[in-house]
C-alpha cells in the first residue's frame, strides 16, 4: 500500500489493485459459499460492505482512544455488533434471501477482510480516508462476488437473477449442476483469479 494516498486513490485501490477477493485473496469463505446465485452474491456483498463501512468509521473515530493491545478486541466487538444488525435487518426486510444464505451472514464476523481494513487503514487514518477505503473494499468485494455469482448462476442454473437466459429445454436436463455446488465455486474462483493475474501481469488492470 502506498504511503500517502488521497481518498479517491484509496477508494479505487480497494476495487482494483487491492481487490480483497481476487488480489488479496481475503474473505474467501463467503466468496465460495454464497456465490451460487447473483441474488445471494449481491446480498452478501451489501451486508459485508455495510459492516466494513461501519467498522472503519467507528475504528477511525476512536483511533486515538484505542489502546494498542485491546485493539483486536475492539475491532471484533464493533464488527460483531454490526453483523448482528445486518442479520436482523435481512430477516426483517429480505426474508427469502436471509433464509437462503442466513447461515453465512453471522460468519461475516470472522471475515478477515474486514478486520484487515480496521488494522491496516482505519486505526491509523482519519474518517474520510477510512470511509473511502471501506467503500472501495466493500464495492470491490461485492463486484468479485457478483462476477462469481453471474458465472455460476448462468452455467449452473441457466438463469440470471432468476430470469431464464439459457434455453430452458436444454438447461433443464443438461445444467452444469456442479457450478452451483462447492466444487463449482473453487473452479470458478480459480479461473477468475487466474484471468485477473494474467491481466495484471500484462499491465491491463490498475498498475
Amino acid at each position: 500500500m502506498a504511503a500517502e494516498t488521497g481518498n479517491l486513490e484509496q477508494f479505487k485501490t480497494g476495487i482494483l489493485d487491492n481487490n480483497p477477493v481476487l488480489v488479496q485473496l481475503l474473505g474467501m469463505c463467503p466468496a465460495l459459499a454464497v456465490t451460487n446465485s447473483v441474488e445471494n452474491a449481491l446480498v452478501m456483498g451489501g451486508a459485508a460492505t455495510f459492516v466494513v463501512v461501519m467498522s472503519n468509521l467507528i475504528t477511525s473515530l476512536l483511533r486515538n482512544l484505542i489502546k494498542p493491545h485491546v485493539r483486536i478486541l475492539i475491532f471484533t466487538l464493533t464488527i460483531a455488533t454490526f453483523v448482528t444488525i445486518a442479520d436482523l435487518f435481512l430477516k426483517a426486510y429480505l426474508f427469502k434471501v436471509s433464509q437462503a444464505i442466513g447461515a453465512f451472514i453471522p460468519l461475516i464476523i470472522v471475515n478477515c477482510m474486514i478486520i484487515c481494513r480496521a488494522e491496516v487503514v482505519a486505526i491509523k487514518n482519519g474518517v474520510g480516508k477510512s470511509l473511502a477505503d471501506a467503500f472501495g473494499i466493500g464495492i470491490g468485494f461485492t463486484l468479485s462476488l457478483l462476477t462469481l455469482g453471474i458465472i455460476r448462476e448462468i452455467l449452473g442454473s441457466g438463469t440470471f437473477l432468476n430470469y431464464q437466459v439459457l434455453p430452458k429445454t436444454v438447461w433443464d436436463t443438461h445444467a452444469w449442476i456442479i457450478m452451483i455446488l462447492p466444487p463449482g465455486a473453487f473452479l470458478t474462483l480459480g479461473v477468475v483469479v487466474g484471468v485477473v493475474n494474467y491481466m495484471r501481469e500484462r499491465g491491463k488492470v490498475g498498475a
Binding site: 476512536l62 485491546v70 475492539i74 466487538l77 436482523l88 435487518f89 449452473g156
Partner: protein, 190 residues
C-alpha cells in the same frame, strides 16, 4: 484498579453502547421478523389445505409435541388439518407442514417451509413448480408409511427419490412417515 479502568474503560463503554444498539435493533425489527415467519407458515398452511378459508378461525392444537392447525372452509365445515413437523436433513433441520384430509385418511399436500439442503439437488424437496418430488405425496392414503425407491414407483406407497439427493428425499419422507404414524391416529374426530 486505576490501571484496570484506564486500560478497559473504552471496551466496557463500547460493550454497553453496542448492547443498547442491538437491543434497539432487535426491538424495532422483532415484530417484522415474527410477521415474516408467521406469513411463511400461513402460506404453507394455505397451500397444503387449499380448501381452508383465511377468514375462518383456525384452531391450534398440540398433539404429541407437534403443532396442528384445524382449518375450516368458508362454510365452517372442516377443511383439513395442517401438521407442523420437522426432522434432521442432510445438512440442517427440515421444517415441513403436512396437510391431512378432514377424516385423516388422505394426505392433501406436503410443503417444506425451511431447509438448508444442497442447492440444485436437495432443494428439489421444495414444493414449487418443476419439482415433482413433493407432489408425489398428494392424495396418498395415510394408512401405510411410504417407502423410497429409485425407480418409477410400482405401488401407491412408494415415493421416487430425487436423483442425486437420495438422503434429502429420505429425510423428508421420514418426517412425513412420522406424521402418519404418530400424529394422524391422534387427530380428534369431528
Amino acid at each position: 484498579m486505576k490501571k484496570f479502568i484506564d486500560e478497559s474503560w473504552l471496551v466496557l463503554t463500547m460493550g454497553i453502547a453496542f448492547a443498547a444498539l442491538l437491543a434497539g435493533a432487535q426491538t424495532t425489527w422483532q415484530g417484522k421478523i415474527r410477521e415474516n415467519q408467521a406469513k411463511a407458515l400461513n402460506l404453507a398452511v394455505a397451500e397444503v389445505v387449499p380448501a381452508m378459508d383465511a377468514e375462518q378461525e383456525r384452531e391450534t392444537l398440540d398433539i404429541d409435541g407437534n403443532t396442528v392447525f384445524k382449518c375450516r372452509a368458508a362454510d365452517g365445515s372442516l377443511a383439513g388439518w395442517a401438521v407442523q413437523a420437522s426432522g434432521g436433513g442432510f445438512i440442517d433441520k427440515i421444517n415441513v407442514v403436512v396437510g391431512i384430509s378432514p377424516d385423516g385418511s388422505e394426505i392433501i399436500g406436503v410443503k417444506v417451509v425451511s431447509h438448508l439442503e444442497t442447492p440444485g439437488l436437495g432443494n428439489k424437496i421444495e414444493r414449487v413448480e418443476g419439482n415433482p418430488f413433493p407432489y408425489q405425496f398428494d392424495g396418498k392414503s395415510t394408512a401405510t408409511p411410504f417407502a423410497l425407491t429409485k425407480q418409477t414407483p410400482a405401488t401407491d406407497s412408494e415415493i421416487q427419490a430425487i436423483t442425486g439427493a437420495t438422503y434429502s428425499s429420505q429425510y423428508t419422507m421420514d418426517i412425513v412417515n412420522d406424521v402418519l404414524t404418530r400424529i394422524v391416529p391422534q387427530l380428534p374426530k369431528e
